[in-house]
Symmetry: C2
Subunit: 506 residues, 2 copies
């Protein structure tokens, strides 16, 4: 019997390996499409994508898969098989519960909705997009019924991106975070100590930005024999396998921060994927465990490392070497304050690192309202603008800089946004734990010795891939569940210093 | 009945479309591996290649395929279906006739042989490679028995690369060609009018070589919205689909001809693939019809266009712009003679365009001898060197510059070499026919107007992909079969002028 099971286990792992091979091929095709595939080949390349994706989908919902799940469940399996099986079962259930015809109609709708959204955004015309968004939400609500839910319908959507996170958890932490940030934003608005940022916008040659970014990636411990840096309109990191994790960035010659902080951010994602245990290659576990944990790694590097004063103690002189003299008379302190400026703005992806979570919280509150029938699609523009006014003190002039700015909803990606802010909270919470092992954290940054930091993250987070669930990692690393306190403390401390705010007394 | 057949036909075409999608994905993976995939990802990428290739192989030899062949053969089908079915049947028969176990052993041997060959070549030690080559030849002979053959065993191998070409045909044309070239080589050796080539080896910055090459590609009519130019150690062109045909080149700052003529050569291959009829996308017919016809296109551009006097009338000033002054005092005539220098040399891929066919003919004679049991592997070094001495008047000092120089035999690719010289003959023969439609060929080159030339090639050759067999194209375009006369006339005419040889009298 057990010999029989071990045979099925082997077959199952081979089956999964094939799925993983298709995924890797797809990953490379997507990378290629974004980094310079010739325009006229795209149509036929889409056919290839369709073919491979549908093969992958078929395998994940096949009778073979059902048989593997049925025969292996409940048996004594290796940890890797067990977790891979869990992953497969989750996908199988999710995909099988929706009637095939409905899903096909939904996919067609999605693709139409995305192109309508693009046009609607260009014209700042929400009314044009509204009927499509209404249908998308309607489908998604039906899907939630098929999938089932516990306590709150929105929980099922959250679970897709951040397993274990629920509305109860988010209401608490986002509530605390919102209150703290809104208060800080108000104080900053009132502060007379605004940093001068004018010098950030002097021309900085693209090649120099690239050379500097490469130096920083190297300092972070990004392995160039397991990756490469390319240029794209929308920067991303993609882990094809731990030996091939590619990052891309975008260059703005009038604002070097786009490329440099962008590269550090994607580099943080990339370090995660490069350092997953090789034992997980070819399973379905060889990638970051969740959107939120992934974002914790990119934000850890972008902000907690990359916008830290000690980090620039080490790197400011290097930046000056690549710049064209505009920083020669700017002190490190003034430079540091400039790159940490905070100012309410409309566009999420351009937001500073203090106001950013408010953009997320607004989207969370709206999504939750939609799926609990408390908000209707037609009212979104007004609700959106009201919330921006309430939390950030600014009101979008039109829907392009308001409710139409993000692509996510046109693709039905509800439940995704919270991950961004969760990642930020995780990052601050990890930093707190890291300090117990590396109390000399600031010195390490100041020395440009980021190796112990990367090793700590690999040991505690990266290596596990999807072997551990996000909240399991959080618990194992920090000894507690999600706690907004760490990010709040970090933000208070940082922006109090940057803006020389009056220190709170209790 | 006919309705039933048309249903099966549709299913068959869908099946083939899927095979083609896997091929395209594989093509992109290979391109990526050669143009900059990170080293550490290669091992896992090989797994992906293995998975997709074996899927493709399984499909081509599947029971489904057998059923399609059985049910569709003999029925009234569209031309595309018919030719696709022929292609599938050919592959099916070829793959099914070899016992699976033998084929697997052979694949293992191949991969060992290739790495042994690499080491043997580095050490110039044929004895090391000999036992592997003997086994490869032995397997290949057995395969020929399985596949069957007509008249000559080597015909079966020729048929894999150049359907329709036989030993009878090659003996005749290669015999004529050899005689003519050997005689020209002798006359050139005796000629006092050797061109000065020293100026070709002045430093030419890589970026300038690239910019110049791009201008020439543009002039050729290479569509940059359907392709891109990258850098690799071994240049190649790859047609993923007609909208995505990529070329690569190599830069040598001390000899710009490597990059420029290499780019023109690969550009010639690329024009073929870019201009295949879109109707053939997704079938198995959407690529060049044979190795030889493919090579005819690259050699047509590299030599008949790219090393022509009129071509440089147009482009010599442009070259001077990108060079660093070393051509300012060199006349167009002297430049033209320099780039057409001919001098016997040992290494095939570095040979000039007169002696090149001799390198091929030597390999052809040896391969034919091996498969007809007239030559034994152990005698190859001596036979090789004797032939070089006889035809080219030079004798390799060791096996690295002799019999070990090419990778082909270690992979069992017998029958492939003749295509290179066939391509050259086809090219000269096409040129002759083209002159009837474009009698102003020289003027077109001198004006830099290569459009009518590309359009002629597209109309007569490119568009058909694999819809026509090589000899069918030759017959349709030139009204006759393979004829060595055109290449011989071309070579005599050209090198008589370049070396100011005494004109033959009859």
């Amino acid at each position: 019997m057990s010999e029989h099971i071990s045979e099925i286990e082997k077959e199952f792992l081979d089956f999964v390996k094939k799925m993983q091979a298709y995924s890797e091929a797809l990953g490379l095709i997507y990378w290629d499409l974004r980094t310079g595939a010739p325009k006229n080949g795209v149509e036929q390349r889409s056919e290839v994508i369709g073919m491979l994706s549908s093969e992958l989908f078929k395998m994940s919902t096949s009778e073979e898969m059902a048989a593997y799940i049925a025969s292996l469940s409940g048996h004594n399996l290796s940890e890797i098989t067990l977790k891979t099986l869990e992953e497969c079962k989750k996908n199988y259930d999710r995909n099988k519960k929706i009637p095939a015809k409905e899903y096909q109609d939904y996919v067609v709708l999605q693709s139409k909705a995305e192109s309508v959204w693009e046009e609607a955004r260009a014209k700042a015309d929400f009314a044009m997009f509204q009927p499509y968004l209404e249908k998308i939400v309607e489908y998604k609500k039906k899907f939630v019924e098929y999938w089932g839910y516990e306590e709150n319908k929105y929980n099922t959507l959250l679970d897709m991106y951040e397993p274990g996170i629920t509305v109860d958890v988010l209401d608490k932490v986002f509530g605390e975070l919102r209150e703290a940030i809104v208060s800080l934003v108000q104080k900053i608005a009132d502060s007379p100590n605004k940093p001068d940022t004018s010098f950030l916008f002097e021309t900085f040659p693209k090649q120099n930005q690239k050379d500097f970014s490469l130096k920083i990636l190297e300092q972070m411990g990004y392995n160039f024999e397991s990756g490469r840096l390319d240029e794209t309109v929308h920067p991303f990191a993609t882990g094809l396998n731990p030996g091939d994790v590619r990052v891309t960035t975008r260059y703005d010659e009038n604002d070097w921060r786009t490329a440099v902080f962008g590269t550090i951010h994607e580099g943080g994602h990339a370090l995660y994927e490069q350092n997953i245990s090789k034992d997980l290659i070819g399973t379905l576990l060889c990638s970051g465990t969740s959107m939120g944990i992934h974002e914790s790694q990119s934000l850890f590097y972008e902000n907690i490392v990359g916008r830290d004063f000690s980090f620039w103690k080490q790197n400011y002189d290097l930046l000056k070497e690549y710049a064209s003299g505009e920083y020669d008379n700017i002190s490190l302190e003034d430079f540091y304050r400039a790159i940490n400026e905070s100012k309410p703005s409309f566009i999420r992806i351009e937001a500073d690192m203090l106001t950013y979570p408010l953009h997320i919280i607004i989207r969370y509150e709206i999504e939750k309202g939609l799926f609990n029938d408390e908000i209707e699609v037609k009212d979104l523009p007004k609700i959106w603008n009201d919330k921006y006014e309430e939390y950030l003190g600014i009101r979008p002039a039109n829907d392009r800089e308001g409710v139409l700015q993000d692509v996510h909803w046109s693709g039905g990606d509800f439940g995704y946004f919270p991950s961004y802010a969760l990642g930020y909270m995780y990052a601050a919470q990890f930093k707190n734990s890291m300090l117990k092992d590396l109390p000399n954290f600031d010195d390490l940054l100041a020395e440009g010795n980021l190796t112990p930091i990367r090793e700590w993250l690999t040991k505690n987070i990266h290596q596990y891939g999807k072997l551990k669930k996000p909240l399991e990692i959080l618990q194992d690393v920090t000894g507690e569940g999600l706690n907004a306190k760490y990010l709040i403390d970090y933000l208070k401390d940082k922006y109090t210093k940057v803006y020389n705010l009056p220190v709170e007394t209790h």
